[in-house]
Amino acid sequence: MSWEHAGKVAVAGIGFSAIERRTARPLGAFALDAAVAAVADCGLKISDIDGLATYPSAPFVGAANRDGEDVITVEFFLTQKRMGEIAWYAQAGEGLVCASVRDATNALLAGACKYVLVWRAMYVPPGTYGSAAMRHATGDAQFTAPYGVVSPLQWHALVYRRYLETYGAKRESMAALVLNSRANANRNDHAIFADKKLTPADYASARMIADPLCLLDCDVPVTACVAMVMTTTERARDLRNRPALVAAVAHQTAVRHHPIHYTLHDHIESGKPFADRLWRDAGLGPKDMSAAQLYDGFAPSTWYWLEACGFCGRGEAHAFTQGGRIALDGELPLNTFGGSLSQGRLHGMGHLAEAVLQLTGRAGPRQLPDPHAIAVLDGSPMLRGSGAIFTRDPH
């Protein structure tokens, strides 16, 4: 029995800012560019927006957390005088930006507002990314930071080594996924690596960051904002572009009891219940998907999502992703826009935007022939996971 509200809410428009690395231009300017582009894509005015939803948190340690500088919270748009009257807003604390799709969907179904602006803005600070001095370790960090373990890349590396050992996988097998994403980014003007090719030799010689994770297994930090406008499907039919319909939306709710270190079990088992919920609500399964946009802040997360969602069996993702299966003309086109690895670190917003562009036939040189349903999974199956299934048509 699928969700009674499947297909009633839609994404009506998408807007991209420029995508840069370190830049002197304030993040607020990127956010306004994206918002204005998103409403223009719908044929609306910015003052038509009456709902706001984002996942606002600064994605690196040591942020100033000043609106318009390194974060764009709801407050940023509330204080812009060109905005109209805002009836509803929400800021997600978990789930990355796909959780904001959930929030907006619920608000629109409840009739709390008419047009919701959903965005994610990301900023690259000066200096070494993700490195901040720490003199004292407090709280749970008493048991981690004194050992030099402070970064998600280290947690991911520890889990990834476990995956490789458990399933007899080789880290060299990740090259297929990373190179596929780069080839797709080379067909995407909204990618930081749009013009930068990647070869197998580049992957093989990439420097280690936290072994077995190499530099090319980590997404590339960017300064950018992507925004989209969500509304009811009924209203969306009167707007400029064809809408992409929300068939299901869910977030990870599994509980873990060992906060010092997450495990491979966490990643794969915790993703399954909510992936199953997505399939049930959408009335669709992995085999029905025209493509998948699976979060790749660290490349192994995409392997875990493939397994947690049932696109392949447990321990099979490293083999499943070989031989062109995930290419644009393959059985399961994957991260068709370049992923966070090659478009840039947009915390899932790029994945969402791509699902919409593909389903509405607006993906340009990387357009899939006849896509009708696309899964987006954001975050990792354990850490702040959230997801949505989008369809082209009601069903």
Partner: protein, 149 residues
């Protein structure tokens, strides 16, 4: 890295009401983990409430210090300026023998010979290296065979 000090400096654990028992034990050369007096559940890092039964008075209980190696990584990227001078450095996750998924961390700074011989599941045992005298005694783990030799 412009933001990296030249000398190695670990963040110093700052004990609090919940963690004090852990650091009191390491000062005695003992490893103690929070344990529920009602249901016997161990938990780490410590919490005010037992995850297993909701008891509000977990206490510290001495454990054997024996563990198994779960995973490890060598960090090459400067994630913590105080550790820049130690790059690259290995750290590992161990599971204490007392309970499934009762994890602790250790690093292998100054013990690179251990990092090269790590194997999944190898027996580890807690050690209490002399620190620089600043802050609590930080427990570390080393291969159990090494300590017997």
């Amino acid at each position: 890295m412009s933001d990296a000090p030249a000398t190695f400096a670990r963040p110093i654990p700052r004990p609090d009401a919940i963690s004090q028992g852990f650091w009191d034990a390491t000062a005695r050369g003992e490893l103690a983990i929070q344990r529920c007096p009602d249901c016997g559940n161990y938990q780490h890092p410590p919490r005010p409430i037992c995850h297993a039964c909701g008891c509000a008075a977990p206490v510290y209980a001495r454990v054997s210090g024996e563990a198994r190696l779960v995973s490890w990584t060598t960090t090459y990227h400067n994630v913590l300026p105080g550790f820049a001078a130690a790059l690259p450095y290995a750290c590992m996750v161990v599971e204490l023998v007392e309970q499934k998924e009762l994890f602790m961390l250790s690093d292998l700074i100054g013990r690179a010979e251990i990092a090269s011989g790590l194997r999944f599941g190898m027996k580890m045992r807690v050690v209490f290296p002399a620190g620089d005298g600043e802050g609590p005694v930080l427990p570390q783990f080393a291969p159990a065979e090494e300590q017997q030799a």
